[in-house]
Amino acid sequence: SQQGEEDPQALSIQEGENATMNCSYKTSINNLQWYRQNSGRGLVHLILIRSNEREKHSGRLRVTLDTSKKSSSLLITASRAADTASYFCATDVRGSARQLTFGSGTQLTVLP
C-alpha cells in the first residue's frame, strides 16, 4: 500500500477560498515533501518539512506535520485559478535508500 495517502482525492473550491489537503503515512520519516503537478507531467517541489518541525510557511502555503499522528496538511490560502493542479505528498522514509514514496494525490480545482 502507499506510504503516503492524500485526502481528499478531489477538492473543488471558489477562487479566494482556502484549500486544505491532508496526508497520512505509516512509518517514521526523515522529512515530508509536497509537490504540485500540472497536466500529468513533471512535478514541482513546493515545500519540505523535517521530522523535527511542526509547521512551515512559504508564501501562500502552510504545511503542518504531526509525527505522533503520522499526518501532514497543506493549506493554500487565498486560492487562485492557477492553483488548479494535483498535489502530492512524499515521504523520505527513515532507514530507506533515500528514495521518496509518493501518495496518490489530491486533484484541486479552483473555480474562477
Binding site: 502507499q2 526523515n30 522529512n31 515533501q33 509537490y35 500529468g40 507531467r41 513533471g42 512535478l43 514541482v44 517541489h45 519540505l48 523535517r50 502530492f88 512524499a90 523520505d92 535508500a97 533515500r98 528514495q99 521518496l100 514514496t101 509518493f102 501518495g103 496518490s104 494525490g105
Partner: protein
C-alpha cells in the same frame, strides 16, 4: 542544463517492441530516480542511482525493465518487449540530497498499442 531533460516527450510503440527513454539530470546532481505514473495515479518508484554505488532496482516491475547511468550523468531506461500495461508517463528526477527535494523532468508519455 538548467533543468532535468527527458526525451522523447511522447513515444508510441507497438506491443512487443523495445523502447529507450532518456534522462539528462541537472549537472552535479549525484542522485537520479525513475518513477512511473499511470493515468490518475500516484508515482511508482522504479530505480535509484546514487553516485558510483550499485543502483537500487527494487522497484522495477519485471526483468523486461532495465536502466543504466553512464558516467554518473545521463540515464537510459529500457523496456524490452513492451506490453500495453507499460503505457504510462515515465518521470525522471535528480537531486543532490533528498533533504532538498527532487527536481523532476517533464516526463515521457509512453503509449503501447
Amino acid at each position: 542544463g538548467a533543468g532535468v531533460s527527458q526525451s522523447p516527450s511522447n513515444k508510441v510503440t507497438e506491443k512487443g517492441k523495445d523502447v529507450e527513454l532518456r534522462c539528462d539530470p541537472i549537472s552535479g546532481h549525484t542522485a537520479l530516480y525513475w518513477y512511473r505514473q499511470s493515468l490518475g495515479q500516484g508515482l511508482e518508484f522504479l530505480i535509484y542511482f546514487q553516485g558510483n554505488s550499485a543502483p537500487d532496482k527494487s522497484g522495477l516491475p519485471s526483468d523486461r525493465f532495465s536502466a543504466e547511468r553512464t558516467g554518473g550523468s545521463v540515464s537510459t531506461l529500457t523496456i524490452q518487449r513492451t506490453q500495453q500495461e507499460d503505457s504510462a508517463v515515465y518521470l525522471c528526477a535528480s537531486t543532490t540530497d533528498s533533504n532538498y527535494g527532487y527536481t523532476f523532468g517533464s516526463g515521457t508519455r509512453l503509449t503501447v498499442v
